[in-house]
Symmetry: C2
Subunit: 351 residues, 2 copies
Amino acid sequence: MAKRVRLIDIAERLNITKVTVSKALRDQPDISKDMRALVKKTAAEMGYTPNLVARSLSSQRSHILGVVVPKIAHPFFAAVIDAIQEEATKKGYGILLAVSNENAALERQHIERLLAMRVDGLLVSVSKQQPDLSVYQQVRDMHMPLVFFDRQIEDAGFSSITIDDRLGAFHAVDHLIQQGYRKIAHIAGTHDVAIGRERRAGYEEALRKHDLPVFEPWVIAGGFDEWHGYDAFVQILHTDALPDAVFAVTFPVGLGVYGAMREHAPDLLDTVQILTFGDGEVNAFYPYPHLCVRQPTQEMGHRAVEILLAEIEGTADGPAQRVVLQTSLVTAQNYRLPSRDEAAESLRLAG
Amino acid sequence: MAKRVRLIDIAERLNITKVTVSKALRDQPDISKDMRALVKKTAAEMGYTPNLVARSLSSQRSHILGVVVPKIAHPFFAAVIDAIQEEATKKGYGILLAVSNENAALERQHIERLLAMRVDGLLVSVSKQQPDLSVYQQVRDMHMPLVFFDRQIEDAGFSSITIDDRLGAFHAVDHLIQQGYRKIAHIAGTHDVAIGRERRAGYEEALRKHDLPVFEPWVIAGGFDEWHGYDAFVQILHTDALPDAVFAVTFPVGLGVYGAMREHAPDLLDTVQILTFGDGEVNAFYPYPHLCVRQPTQEMGHRAVEILLAEIEGTADGPAQRVVLQTSLVTAQNYRLPSRDEAAESLRLAG
DNA sequence: CTTCGTAACTTAACCGATAAAGTAGGCCGT
DNA sequence: ACGGCCTACTTTATCGGTTAAGTTACGAAG
């Protein structure tokens, strides 16, 4: 049982050629019904499993998608990757996962490696560092399908599926203001990355709508992780005035703000309202839930795969699609534990 | 620029054979220094990248590892996958990720698919459902290296890297008792999975050490996710007495307990101490951090890859290794934000 | 009765590499 | 001068499939 069964082994057993076997297994019409049945039966008996590597080489299709994300231990990306994996599996594809760690050079290396591995397409969320456009040019030159999700490089000519960051941020901050908050700080991302720019724009737009000024010392750009949130809030504590609410560009940044408060100004925990763009399942159950902008992670993952597969399997490489998904605001009013049915549903789909 | 450069293209340009090119690029000694240099130079000029699919087929090595986990949007698994990916990349391997969703049938399908894709080895954390042993027998028969991490199937004869669940649980509960808690409930996992059994054993051992009885209605077995924690705690609320502490078998289960408290008995939030086995980065920053048993996720991921690669690249398939890692208890005393250096470190390694 | 078409396979080529075996030419020693 | 031995390549085979181009035999049509 040590050796693996090949097409030719089946062929020899039946005194036919491997081509016949190959065709029979793939139900090609120029093999008789009887022969097809016979071959399939014998293949099953002998425990044949096709060598996907060989198949990839000759068919020029690997049925593998390359996925590149900046981070994985992050509620948003973990959820999206999960959805991507689920959808890919359903469609008969596997995923090769690579993490860029927010590092453009590493992102480039990963993409090159995935290209060398002959993935059928790429799903990429770019790192926050200035991207190396040459790789993407290369991808384009070889007509490799690619779909950006969440974080894209605009003008690169690829399809993308993103979230309406500006509108989501706008609604959220608008809501804060309507609740009576006036002194709203914003721990922002970096300007090079779209989500950083857009969320900030939405924030400023909401302030403008209510004729509130943008107080520069309270808008601190810099990054997307916990420590940025931590440092930024410490910096805010050093200004003269204190905000009554903080809008964090990401969930991890929001966590950093909590960390800073806990260590440097625990009394603020109950007075300063925190709002984050993005949530973790964590927040749903925590005793101290905060406002957050919920991103449709599952839909994003599923549709990203759908768009990519359309480009892979579709004929023409039509114009790049640009899908924009809307967020929903999780407020104290509509706050509820995630539906148990959703959990059951995702399990059922998988099974 | 549309077509990809192959070995033979370089060969024709230089009027030599593709074999010479192949050998030159791989620095084989029977090619002259001059020729090697020339070939490499031209290859670079022409923008050659090897077709890894073809290489896999002929060399019978894919340099891809298959990773199967029950879940991904889960702080523990996300962290371990991250570490696995990082280490694999460093060693020149890619990872094919598959999620079983705690479903044994899906787990089986994934493994079969990964085998067909000719991964060089497998890293598996089994689902909580009764596993389908036949796949593992198949893996064994074809001498495919496999390492279990965190959740294993004992007696399957494969190497494993796990966490000392019993001791970790024991120390943690022992600590609770020393802090004065006496009425400690345990929301347990299922009995079929080792982590469920072991953590419960550690819990009972600690109680025994202090001559405390195990109050059966407070030991509720069932699962590892948020809703199990939620339901179990609601059930506890229906018993006559109330515990003064709750030991949750996983971090998500602990979250579920919080959710239940928040909805059904918010006054308990400040009185009932929660202890979870496993933590999320979340907990480090949250204003309401609880006790937790920290698992060495990064070490687990790194070492799992090391062990697997040793089996892949090593000659003999010696006896299966069984590595057990120790946990550390994160208490109110030693509680601190994660080191900024660690973050920097992981970024440096990646770059 | 010849011709043509078609069903059902078989042969030959190819995918892009690697591995093993073969072969010139140069240098050496005797 | 001749066999032996490197050196540096080249030839040939192989990995396990898929695709395109034959090849038979048989039945129907003209």
